[in-house]
Symmetry: C2
Subunit: 375 residues, 2 copies
């Protein structure tokens, strides 16, 4: 009998961060695609969009006007999903008496109020650029904005304000629900730890208890020393980018520091510069893969905020290992995406090409943006 | 101070089936939408499509020809994600010696081979119909096909073949990655229980251990006896459809039998007929909501298959409570969908309108299909 072939035989891989599985069916990359095609990205945007509510000097939907900013610009989201001003609603607790009397609503209809704040970050004044087209030094003000939002919320949390987790993310491209091409990201801060980072922290805590080490420190070391580094896309002194073993989306990557860094505030100046470097190189490779403005959602996971007077251990701050997830939907070209639908929603997430195949494709991409190539 | 208003204030609701949370920001329904618009569904398809690989009598992609079927027709997927014929690959086990010697790969790069079978079910010979447009009696052959696939795989599993879970699902509409409008669904059977049903079974087992009852029996009873039935969309003697308390997608519903029924094979003849009735009425209301062929992914969760010689308890078969999930993406109209992206992927799933608002909208829909209305 022949031996198992990861490039051809169906298998599932375990995701230790989320305690779930991913079904991988590599032979399926051969199937023809007759379904929906995405619109390829527009390449003819002006530097300034007179109708854009994010451009410098323009009026926003609720009547505020942007300053004529010349670097990165942050404002509070005009349509915030969470706000600070609302009545209290503490978590529904199961009521033993009711339950015994046959009323299970306290058990099955649980809720809690959520307070918080939402920000929008315009990465750059130019309407027609993206992180992928900016050079590393132009990403420094973006990282700096992320740091200062995190730091000011951390200070307010320490004084007792209702802030517990800072979720930084970017939706890039129509396909990812982005409604304005002006380069921007968001920050949603909530008074509870959202499901995803909370699950990760739970699994990282269990790993640490069992093995005494940090899951992501171990994982970064494993990938950067693996023979042939099959899942590594790129590396610099401080950071590594991998198509992780358990990646779900076709070209999903995980960007993480090699040493244990809980949050953005723990980065040295050198690590900040090398973070800008690797972010810029990764996003540029993404654009070059299909010569299109590559859509994705990206998000930063890091330490929760410490509450007033609580210790770091209670808050899981030292368990956290800063990392960035990139979830891009494209599969075959600028117009053919992967759909995570039926089986993926109801059964288990499923991918066609293996993470090793994806990493090889991304390693083969150039680091000069295709739009800037002299032909 | 005013009191907490679930129709206006941000809160999160607990999903006891998946042990996760959903952020609900009802005030956000007011925000303008300037992003991607979906193509509304085509309404001018012929009854027979000469190019359609699912129509009766036509040739499929790999060269097989469909019979001239006149009811529901099942065949094995020509591009199956899982197959029976492949080498063994048992689950990677953590190797204590390696781990102590510093090699964590057995811990962090875990995988197992997955065997199984994939089927396609053509619901009806007509190229231009859908479950929503078919009347209840025309859904009986569909339910019957689901039953016979489940039953034949169950028999083969009992004889030791590598089948453990039967995932029945339908992707409807371009937006949901469906590449052919011919009414059809799929069945993927695997030799392990996929992540989603496995998570549900774990949580249902924990609930039963703690409270002595079935989570979904309790939930069906709670919703059908709640004052004003705010989350009930429709009901018949045997079944209930709710926009569940913890629903993620804007018009997500959960369809379940009121009594404890582990699998499709446990339905009486009456329950089968009332299942067809409620399926047809629900999908028709969905189409009427925005007067469009309403896209969704739907999936059936039920009992895992019993292995050779194992007892039912070991296999979780009696814990399972048959139910159908509908995950439709549309939010505001035939062309504006909800994107579960950035915050939803990285933080926590988020919805705008509450499940109670969604249920009220669906209750207000007619049960005569808009295309069949005499004006
Ligand atoms: O099998 P189909 O219909 O070609 O493909 C569709 O459903 C599958 C199962 O949910 C998904 O994996 C695919 O991404 C989707 O496009
Ligand atoms: O806030 P935006 O950019 O208008 O909206 C986008 O991002 C949000 C956060 O991921 C999502 O909830 C929306 O569905 C999406 O369209």
């Amino acid at each position: 009998s022949t031996s198992f072939d990861f490039d051809n035989d169906s298998h599932r891989r375990f995701d230790p961060l989320r305690n779930t599985w991913v079904l991988c069916s590599p032979h399926r990359t051969n199937r023809p695609w007759q379904g929906q095609q995405e619109k390829p990205s527009t390449t003819t945007l002006p530097t300034y969009g007179s109708e854009c509510y994010l451009c410098p000097g323009n009026m926003r939907a609720q009547g505020d006007r942007n300053p004529v900013y010349d670097s990165t610009y942050v404002f509070e989201n005009d349509f915030a999903a969470v706000k600070v001003e609302q009545p209290d609603f503490p978590l529904t607790q199961p009521n033993q008496e009711d339950i015994e009397a046959g009323d299970k609503s306290s058990l099955l209809l649980r809720a809690e109020g959520v307070r918080g704040k939402c920000y929008v970050i315009c990465f750059n004044p130019a309407h027609n650029t993206t992180l992928a087209e900016l050079l590393a030094h132009a990403l420094l003000p973006v990282i700096s904005a992320w740091k200062s939002i995190y730091s000011s919320l951390a200070q307010r949390a320490a004084q007792g304000e209702p802030f517990r987790y800072v979720q930084i993310f970017e939706n890039k491209g129509d396909t990812m629900g982005c409604s304005n091409p002006h380069p921007h990201g968001q920050v949603w801060c909530t008074d509870s730890i959202p499901t995803e980072p909370s699950t990760e922290l739970t699994n990282m805590t269990a790993y640490k208890t069992q093995h005494g080490t940090c899951l992501l420190c171990d994982y970064a070391a494993l990938e950067s020393s693996a023979e042939g580094k099959p899942r590594v896309v790129l590396e610099n002194e401080d950071w590594i980018v991998v198509c992780e073993w358990w990646a779900t989306w076709p070209f999903q990557t995980l960007l993480l520091p090699k040493r244990h860094i809980p949050s953005l505030l723990d980065l040295t100046e050198e690590e900040t510069a090398s973070f800008a470097d690797i972010l810029s190189r990764l996003t540029c490779r993404y654009d070059n893969l299909f010569e299109t403005s590559f859509p994705y959602s990206m998000g930063i996971h890091q330490a929760p905020l410490k509450g007033k007077g609580t210790a770091c251990e209670e808050d899981g701050c030292d368990i956290a290992h800063l990392h960035v997830h990139f979830y891009p939907p494209l599969l075959r070209s600028a117009t053919v995406r992967k759909f995570l639908v039926g089986f993926e929603m109801m059964g288990e997430v499923q991918r066609d090409l293996t993470p090793e195949m994806a990493a090889a494709r991304l390693r083969a991409c150039d680091e000069v943006h295709y739009k800037n190539k002299v032909v």
